[in-house]
Amino acid sequence: MPKATEKDIETHKLILSKNDLALAKLFDTYGKSIIDSLKQWYPKVADEDYNLIIAAVNEAFFGYFQNPNTFNPKLNELKRFLEIASERDLINALKREKRHHLNRENLPEDVELEEKIWNRSLEEKENPESEIIRNEISEKIDSLLKEYFPNGKDMDLAKLILGKERKTEVFVEVFGLTNLNKEEQELLVKRNKDRIKKVIERNGLENKIKILLS
């Protein structure tokens, strides 16, 4: 017993036979109800990115039109089949948008503008995709810096310098100099910062990181 309605079967046959009106009838018959479904299921998208819904329905309809055998009248009504396909295409479009947006967020014009990517706290709730991208970038930067700063503390210091950290207390913590007096702390921090800065400048590490981030 087919699940598809008579109208579904009629439309499906028109498409299979490449009837001159098939594409127009497909959009005419099912377009509005599928858009209504997506607008109901994704009200926020409908408000903010209405064109994504139109594009997703189009993609789904053309997908079916070009490969009508993907629809099995025994399993589904054509409306439901097109709803599923349109929703899938909408979700994919939303994912692409999100990825694009995240990539743009993670591409600073200048390393200075990027707020210490390795130090950025992940306490703020991030979505899994954002976290994956951030981790990937962080790993790339780590492996680059490791080549020039095999000593873990030096690497941490380099990250702080590249992240334009200016507070002496932060460097004091990293080097474990808390037991020294302020003057000694400042002297040692300055000496080590100068040493690390020279390695960074000599090897053009800022530029290398920019390339990694681009």
Binding site: K18, D20, L21, L23, A24, K25, F27, D28, G31, K32, I35, D36, K39, I54, A55, V57, N58, F61, F62
Partner: protein, 122 residues
């Protein structure tokens, strides 16, 4: 535009470079006549929905025997006059045909015609 019209418009745009569809002829016609879709809709005494539905129909081949039958079917479905549909198809097809002919051939034909006329006048 309502949802359905917006969807139809988007679909026509997608196939408007494919000469198998009426969307191709509508786009070319507008471009040749330097008019907008809205203006053509006015000329056809149609509305957006029927106009874009026309765009999604397969364009009948004017050299085929069943050309008129096919145009009539499309006309019934879109409520747009058969004469208007034929005019659009033939107009675009003719211009396209001339565009496909190398300009030298047209100039040579014009030259031959002029020569012939001169000879007859003598």
């Amino acid at each position: 535009m309502n949802d359905k019209v917006e969807l139809l418009r988007y679909a026509v745009q997608k196939i408007s470079d494919n000469r198998d569809y009426m969307g191709f002829y509508l786009k070319k016609y507008c471009s040749l006549e330097r008019i907008t879709d809205a203006q053509l809709i006015g000329k056809l005494n149609s509305d957006y929905e029927d106009y874009f539905k026309l765009g999604l129909c397969i364009a009948p081949e004017s050299s085929n025997k069943d050309f008129l039958d096919k145009v009539n079917v499309i006309s019934d479905y879109t409520h747009i006059s058969s004469l208007d549909i034929i005019h659009i198809i033939k107009y675009v097809a003719t211009i396209e045909h001339f565009n496909d002919i190398p300009s030298e051939s047209i100039l040579m034909a014009a030259r031959d015609k002029a020569k012939k006329k001169n000879n007859n006048d003598k």
